[in-house]
Subunit: 197 residues, 2 copies
DNA sequence: TTGACATGTGACCGCTCGTTCACTATACTG
DNA sequence: CAGTATAGTGAACGAGCGGTCACATGTCAA
């Protein structure tokens, strides 16, 4: 019946770990949510910890493919409104995608216990977006769309507040639309401050 | 022998909870770190959960006294350099104080499991500093030190990046001084952007 | 048809968890 | 000095944990 039980276990684990943490999750409940008994899990993973490690491997790979490779850097916007629109689109994806939300929650919970989670959290929450927007802002300065300034500093000043609002939305999902609106407002304020005309 | 065992239990609990989370902490290890056996804990708290609730009560009270009351709002700086200096001082305290560090970690870990932790996390990580600096920036605009703008938006744009760097320092304590330097650089960039002369 | 392999099951294992309790030692109080 | 409250102890508890294993079932190739 189960098409790919191993994959379903990983999905359920991501969900439970991101809610209760690794220590707060137990195998019985996890497998029961898939209509299995706990011993069945051991056909696919040799331990609870192996689930955790596999999950982290996948997250690292996914993150590397999505944000790490230079070939899928977003295009440099042609206008200030283009920057706002791109920001809106990226935010819309990352703030609503259940898997990405659960990944952020899991990293928040486990960042102080697991070294790989800690490293990934820093990339996810701090340096990843900053590097991407450093490239974007440098390009926009070249095009004369943004005032000449330190692109890395601007990228940090731009992405950190957006990340803070995304974290707020993770914590209080009923405020997601409000968070989106605040990100839009912040984005417009930013282009008003640093944009050229 | 023990001067105030109840207080020592709370301190040890804050330390362990902020490292391993509530579910990952066990009473035996906690009490052993104080030279007690586990049953002794039950002289002071009726359950593990009561420790957690007491800890949260204290955190809420501490936070309310420190950031909530209007009487101990910081004075409005008299110069742009004064804002940088005040920021440096506040950061220095909050980034090095072990108890405050552990509080932030604990809120990061438990924000998705406990409703009160969630609410406190939002105040701690997002709205608290923003409200304080909204007041400060409004005052500085009145004094003609900052360009006229939406003080709340500026406060958010100022405090969110600083918070992000403090979180980074929590995660990677060996980078604390680097985080301090980056906060200083960001602060100076901010006053260069929004300051009047 | 048979044998090999993958998948799922239920009973069971040893261990650790939070919690209880009778008991002891100590310190304060009338 | 006797009496009482307070703090700490070690043994024991029931429950739940992660993990193992002999066994049942289904699939598919030889």
């Amino acid at each position: 019946m189960a098409k790919d039980t191993k994959e379903r276990i990983l999905e359920a684990a991501l969900e439970m770990f991101s809610q209760k943490g690794y220590a707060g999750t137990n195998i019985r409940e996890l497998t029961a949510s898939l209509g299995l008994v706990k011993s069945s899990m051991y056909r696919h993973f040799k331990s609870k910890e192996e689930i955790w490690n596999t999950l982290l491997d996948e997250m690292i790979a996914y993150y590397g493919a999505r944000f790490g490779s230079p070939e899928n850097l977003p295009p440099i916007p042609d206008s200030l409104e283009g920057l706002v629109a791109m920001t809106r689109h990226m935010t819309d994806v990352t703030i609503h995608d259940e898997k990405i939300i659960m990944t952020r929650k899991l990293l928040s919970i486990e960042q102080f216990r697991d070294e790989r989670a800690r490293d990934l959290a820093t990339k996810h929450f701090l340096t990843g977006l900053k590097e991407m927007f450093t490239h974007i802002f440098a390009g926009m300065m070249d095009k004369g769309l943004l005032r000449k300034d330190d692109p890395e500093m601007l990228a940090f000043a731009y992405t950190a507040p957006i990340s803070a609002l995304i974290h707020w939305s993770d914590r209080e999902p009923e405020k997601t639309e409000e968070a989106m609106a605040q990100i839009e407002a912040f984005s417009r304020h930013f282009v008003k401050t640093y944009g050229v005309n």
